[in-house]
Symmetry: C2
Subunit: 632 residues, 2 copies
C-alpha cells in the first residue's frame, strides 16, 4: 500500500480526470487541488448534499455521520458519499452526482431523501422575548413568563434551581431577549441574548487503548472538531483484564482509573472547544460509548465481577446522567447519555457499532468485527442478531511481541517475501519494530513462502527455501526466529525478528477472532458464503490488509470484496445517538433483541478455537493471491 | 387564661370524670394521670384509632397530621381527635369513642373510615432477595436482577450511577437480601440486608422568624420527633422586607442567608434523627414550605425583585429537587419537594395552609388567617378561593414596640382593667415587657375602659377614669404613655408602658390583617355573617385571645365560636404532602385555581385600611364581653 493514491473522476460530460492525492485526503480536496470543480455549497462542512459522489471503483471509504445525515443510510449503502467528508484510502473512481432537485435526487438515490437521518438531538434552543411579570393580582413568575413563551415544546415544568437563580437579572437584560435550551422537553439552560445558533454536543468512544471524541453542531450535524488521545489509564494495565485486575476489590484504584478517564474527557472537551472556538458551556449533550469496563469505570461502578465468571455487568441499561454528577465540564445542565451494554465483554461500543452499521436493518446476513484486545463480533440481519466477544489480547497492538510496537514511525507494516524479504516501514524510515498489521502481513507471507507451516511452526527445512530466506531462520536465546530486518539495516542496531513465541501469540489472537466469528456462524447456521458482507470496525481495521487477514485465517475465508472497512463504527454510533433521539431509542430496543453467546461457556468452542489456530493450508495460496489482487 | 385546665370525660357508662391537667398535656396523658383508662393500642404514637375521642365542649384543639391519617378530614371536622395527639388548650369535655369495629366506626364517624388520608408518600421500601447473574449467554446485570425482583412497582429503569457503584458487593452480602427504595417509581436506594421498616421523611416550615420541622415515619405517619429553632437569618433582618433588602442585588449576602437556612435545616435533621434514633441516610423525602422569600433564599434564587412592584416570584411551580443539590444531608438520593407559590407574598406556606385546612373542599365560606410579619389570608370554599397578603410588620412579635418582647418569661400576656390594671405575666414573674398577644389584650381592655378612644388616641380626660387608671396616663420623653406596670413592681426597674406610638404600630399591624380580610370579603361579596369559620393559623394564633382580637378589630366582627385556632397549618400541610402524593398533586392543582388579590394595587383598599385602623366602637363593648365569656 502506497501513501500516494490515484483518484479518477468520471465527469458529467463523460470525460475522465485522474488526479493524484495523499492517503486520507478528502475526495473534494483532491479534486480541487487538481483543478476539478466539485461544488461544495456549505463550504465543505458536511452540511449539504451538493458534493455528493458515487464511488464506482475501489473499496468504498467508511461513511461518516454526515453521510448518514445528508444522504441517508440507503444512499450510503449504495456507495454514495459526500466528497467533502470522504477520505481516500486507496485508488478510487468516483462520479460526482450533485442532486439537481429533489425529484432528480429521488431517481438517483432511491429512498435516500426520505430516509436521511433526522437531526433530532433532543436539544432545542429557542430564542424568546419575555417581559417581566406585570400584574400584581394574577401573579406570574419570571419563569412562568419563560414557560409561556416556550409554549408546547416544554413537556415538563420541573427546573433545576440553579437555572433560575439569576433569571431575574437575565430577564431584564437585552430587553428580555433570552435563549432557552430544552433537552427532551425540559428546560436546561436560559441565556441572556440570542445564542440560539450555539448548540453543541460531544460523542466519545472510550477504548481500552485510546479515546476519541468529536464535537458536533447539534443543529446541522457538522463535525466541528475531532480529538483523541491514548487512554491515560494505560499505565495501569494494557488490556481490559489487567485494567480490571488493578481495580478489582480496590476502590482507591478504581477511583484512580475513573479520575484518569474523567480528566481525559474534560481535556478532550476543552481541546475540541478550543479548536472549534466554541464555549464548552454550550455543550448540552454528551454521548459516551465504550466497552463495559470503560463504561463502568467512568461511572465509578465496581468492576470486580467483570473479571469473574459469568463476567456480568453491574448495569446494562442506557442512562442519561447530569454531566455535573460525573462531573464533565459542559453546560451546567448538560446530560451524558451512555449506551446500553449487551454483556460484560460486549459493551456499549458494540451496540454503537450495530447502530451505525445498521446491521439490524440488513436483509442479508452481515457480520461486524471489531478487532481489539477484546474483539467484539455481531452477526445477523433484521431477523436475528447474535453477538459475542473474544479476548484477542494485545498482540494486534504489538504488545507481547518481542519487537512489537504500535503503528508509529519505524514500524514494519508491509512485507513481501520473494527471493528475500522486503519490508515497508511507516514513514519510510529504518525499521525499529513491527506493528499489528505488519505482524498479520508477515505471517501471511511467511506462511505462503513456506517459512512456517500451517500449524505455525517455523520450518527447519531451510534447504527448500531461497538461500537469503533460509539464512533468516535463526536460533537465539529466544528460540527459533525469523529475521525480518537485519541489524545493520534496522533502526535500532539489532535484528528485527519474529520469534516462534510471537507467532504463537498472533495465533492465539487471530484464532480468538476467527473462532468467534465461526461460533456466530454456527449459532446462525450459516457458512461464509452466506455472509453478504463483513464489516471491519475499529481503528485497527484501517491498517490491516484484508487479504492477509483472510490468508492467516484472522477473518473468515470470503472474497475480499465482501469485506468492507467501516471505520470507527462505535464512534459513529455515538455520533448518531448524539444527533438523533430515534437512534437513542433504537439502542434501547437493540439491547432487548441482540442475543449473546459466551464463547468460553460453550463446550463446542474449544474445537473451533484449536482449528482457528491454524494458518491457511498452503494449497490455498494461489487462490488467496488472486483475491489480494482484487482487494488492494 | 390559666395554665391549669379542666378535662371532663364523659364515660361510656354515662358517668363523668373530671381531671385537672396542665396546658399542652395530651388528653390521653391527662386521663391516664387521673386513673381514667383510654386504650392506646399503638402506644400513644398516633398509629391507630383506639384512643379516639369526640370533643363535646371547648374549642376543638388543632388537628395533627396523625388525626388526618387515622381519622380522616371529615371526622376531624366533626370534632373527633386522637387523645394521644391532642393537647389541651382550654377547659374541655370529651367522650372517648374508640371505633369498636369498622361498622360501628362508620356510624360514629360517617365517611371517616373511607376518607382517612391515605399514606402514599411516594417512597416505597421493598425487601428483595436477589441472586447474582448466573448465565454467561443471556447475560443480565446485577441491576437487572434487582429490577426483576422489583417487578412492576418500578416505572423507570433510570438509575443514578452512585446507587450501583457498590452494588456488586452489596448483592453478594447477606445472601442477596437487599432493601430497594423507590421514590415515585424510580430506584433511589439499595441497601444490604433488611431495612424495609426504616423509611423516614422530614417536613419543614421555614418562617421568617422561626423554622419548625418534624420527622415522620413514612410507613405509619407517626411523628418521631418535632424540632425547631429561631431562623438564624434573623440577625440580617427581622422581617421579610429587611431580609430582602439585605440580599437585594447582592449575591454574596444572598449566599449568606442561604447558608444559614441550609445549616439550620441540616442541624434540625440531625437533631430530629438524634431524638428519634434513626439514620439521616434513611430520610428519603423532605417537604419544605415557607414564604416566597424563604423559599427563594433556600434555593439560592435572586430575591431582588420580590422587593419591587409587582413583587413577582422567580419561580412558582412545585419542584422536586435532589437533596444532594442543595445540599441537605439525608439519603444520598433523597428528594426535596417544595410546594407551589401563589404570589410574591403569598407563598408555599399559604398553599400548605389551604391544603391542611381543606378550604378547597369546604361547602361553606371559610377564611384562614395566618398572622405574622407578613399576614396571609385566604377566603373561599370549594367554589372559589381568593388569597391576599398584608404586611403587618413585626408589632405582633413585640418588635418596634417600646417595651415589646417575644412571648417569653416576663412578658405581659394578659391584662384586666377594672379599678386598676392587673397583668398576667408569662411564668408568673415580674413583668419586663409585653408580647404580641399582651399588646392585643392591652388595647382591647384600654379601649373598653375608655383609656383610649376608637381612633386609638390615649384620652386626656383622666377625670372620667378611676383614679388609679388615670394616674397611669403619663407623659414622658416618648410622648403620651399608659403605664401597665409601675417600675417598682416591674422586673426591669422601670415602668412597663404602652406609648401612643406603640398603639399606632399595633393599629397599622392589626388593620393590615383586618382590612386584608375585609378586601377578601369584598372580593367574594360576603359579609362577616356569611363566613362559617375563621381558621387562625400559625404559631401566633396559639396565644392570641380571640375575643380581644375581635374587640380591637384585628379579626372580623364574628362570634368567637366561629373562630378556630388551627395550629401550624403550614407545617401540617407540609406533613400531609410528605405522607401523601395525592396532597402533593392537589397542591399543584390549587396553584392553578387560587386567585390572588394584591391589596396595594387595589384603589379601594386605602379606604378599607383607614377604617381598619379604628378600634371597636365603645357601644359594642357589652356585646363583645359576652362573646368573650363564651370563647374562653
Amino acid at each position: 500500500m502506497t501513501d500516494r493514491l490515484e483518484l479518477r473522476i468520471d465527469g458529467e460530460d463523460g470525460r475522465e480526470t485522474t488526479v493524484g492525492a495523499a492517503r486520507d485526503t478528502t475526495i473534494l480536496d483532491a479534486a480541487h487541488a487538481a483543478g476539478y470543480e466539485i461544488t461544495a455549497t456549505c463550504g465543505a462542512r458536511g452540511r449539504c448534499r451538493s458534493c455528493r459522489v458515487k464511488v464506482l471503483e475501489g473499496t468504498v471509504p467508511p461513511p461518516t455521520v454526515q453521510d448518514n445525515v445528508q444522504l441517508g443510510p440507503e444512499a450510503v449503502r449504495e456507495r454514495f458519499r459526500l466528497a467533502c467528508q470522504t477520505k481516500l484510502l486507496e485508488d478510487t473512481r468516483v462520479r460526482p452526482m450533485p442532486p439537481k432537485a429533489e425529484s432528480g435526487y429521488q431517481i438517483l438515490g432511491g429512498q435516500a431523501a426520505t430516509t436521511a437521518m433526522a437531526l433530532d438531538s433532543g436539544v432545542e434552543k429557542r430564542l424568546i422575548t419575555v417581559e417581566p411579570p406585570k400584574s400584581e393580582h394574577h401573579q406570574t413568575s419570571d419563569l412562568d413568563e419563560v414557560f409561556n413563551a416556550l409554549g408546547e415544546s416544554l413537556t415538563s415544568r420541573r427546573v433545576a434551581p440553579e437555572l433560575v437563580r439569576d433569571l431575574p437579572a437575565r430577564l431584564r437584560q437585552y430587553k428580555g431577549t433570552l435563549t432557552a435550551t430544552l433537552f427532551r422537553g425540559q428546560l436546561v439552560d436560559i441565556e441572556a441574548g440570542n445564542t440560539s445558533e450555539q448548540a453543541y454536543g460531544m460523542a466519545f468512544d472510550i477504548g481500552t487503548t485510546s479515546i476519541v471524541g468529536s464535537l458536533l453542531d447539534l443543529a446541522t450535524g457538522e463535525e466541528l472538531a475531532a480529538v483523541g488521545m491514548i487512554n491515560p489509564q494505560a499505565p495501569f494495565g494494557a488490556d481490559l483484564m489487567s485494567r480490571i485486575a488493578f481495580a478489582q476489590f480496590n476502590t482507591k484504584n478504581l477511583q484512580t482509573l475513573r479520575g484518569k478517564a474523567l480528566n481525559a474527557l474534560n481535556d478532550l472537551i476543552k481541546e475540541a472547544c478550543g479548536k472549534a472556538e466554541v464555549e464548552a458551556s454550550q455543550i448540552y449533550k454528551i454521548v459516551v460509548v465504550g466497552n463495559t469496563c470503560m463504561h463502568h469505570i467512568l461511572l465509578g461502578i465496581d468492576v470486580s465481577y467483570l473479571g469473574l465468571a459469568p463476567y456480568a455487568p453491574v448495569l446494562r441499561d442506557a442512562q442519561t446522567i447530569p454531566a455535573a454528577e460525573l462531573p464533565l465540564k459542559a453546560a451546567p445542565r448538560a446530560h451524558i447519555c451512555t449506551l446500553p451494554i449487551l454483556a460484560g465483554f460486549v459493551g456499549a461500543d458494540a451496540l454503537a457499532c450495530v447502530l451505525s452499521t445498521r446491521l439490524y436493518d440488513s436483509e442479508e446476513i452481515r457480520v461486524l468485527v471489531d478487532i481489539g484486545t477484546n474483539g467484539e463480533m455481531v452477526i445477523g440481519s433484521r431477523e436475528r442478531l447474535v453477538a459475542c466477544s473474544a479476548p484477542a489480547g494485545p498482540a494486534f497492538e504489538g504488545a507481547q511481541i518481542r519487537h512489537g510496537m504500535r503503528g508509529a514511525l519505524g514500524a514494519i507494516e508491509r512485507i513481501a517475501i520473494d527471493e528475500d524479504v522486503t519490508c515497508g516501514v511507516i514513514g519510510g524510515e529504518a525499521a525499529i519494530g513491527i506493528c499489528g498489521s505488519g505482524l498479520i502481513e508477515a505471517c501471511a507471507r511467511m506462511s505462503e513462502a513456506g517459512v512456517m507451516n500451517a500449524s505455525g511452526a517455523l520450518t527447519r527445512k531451510t534447504e527448500d527455501l531461497p538461500p537469503a530466506i533460509g539464512k533468516r531462520l535463526v536460533k537465539s536465546d529466544h528460540g527459533a526466529e525469523f529475521v525480518l530486518v537485519w541489524g545493520a539495516e534496522s533502526g535500532k542496531g539489532e535484528d528485527v525478528t519474529l520469534t516462534q513465541g510471537d507467532i504463537r501469540q498472533l495465533q492465539l489472537a487471530k484464532s480468538a477472532i476467527y473462532s468467534g466469528v465461526a461460533m456466530l456462524q454456527k449459532e446462525m447456521e450459516v457458512g461464509a458464503d452466506d455472509i453478504a458482507e463483513l464489516l471491519l470496525c475499529g481503528g485497527f481495521g484501517n491498517y490491516v490488509d484484508v487479504a492477509s487477514a483472510v490468508q492467516i485465517r484472522l477473518l473468515p475465508e470470503m472474497p475480499a470484496e465482501r469485506i468492507t472497512y467501516f471505520g470507527n463504527a462505535a464512534q459513529m454510533g455515538a455520533q448518531m445517538v448524539l444527533l438523533s433521539e430515534r437512534e437513542w431509542q433504537r439502542a434501547g430496543e437493540l439491547l432487548e433483541s441482540i442475543e449473546h453467546v459466551a464463547l468460553a461457556a460453550r463446550p463446542d468452542f474449544q474445537e473451533l478455537f484449536i482449528d482457528g489456530m491454524n494458518f491457511g493450508a498452503p494449497k490455498r495460496r494461489d487462490e488467496t493471491e488472486e483475491r489480494t489482487a482484487v482487494a488492494v
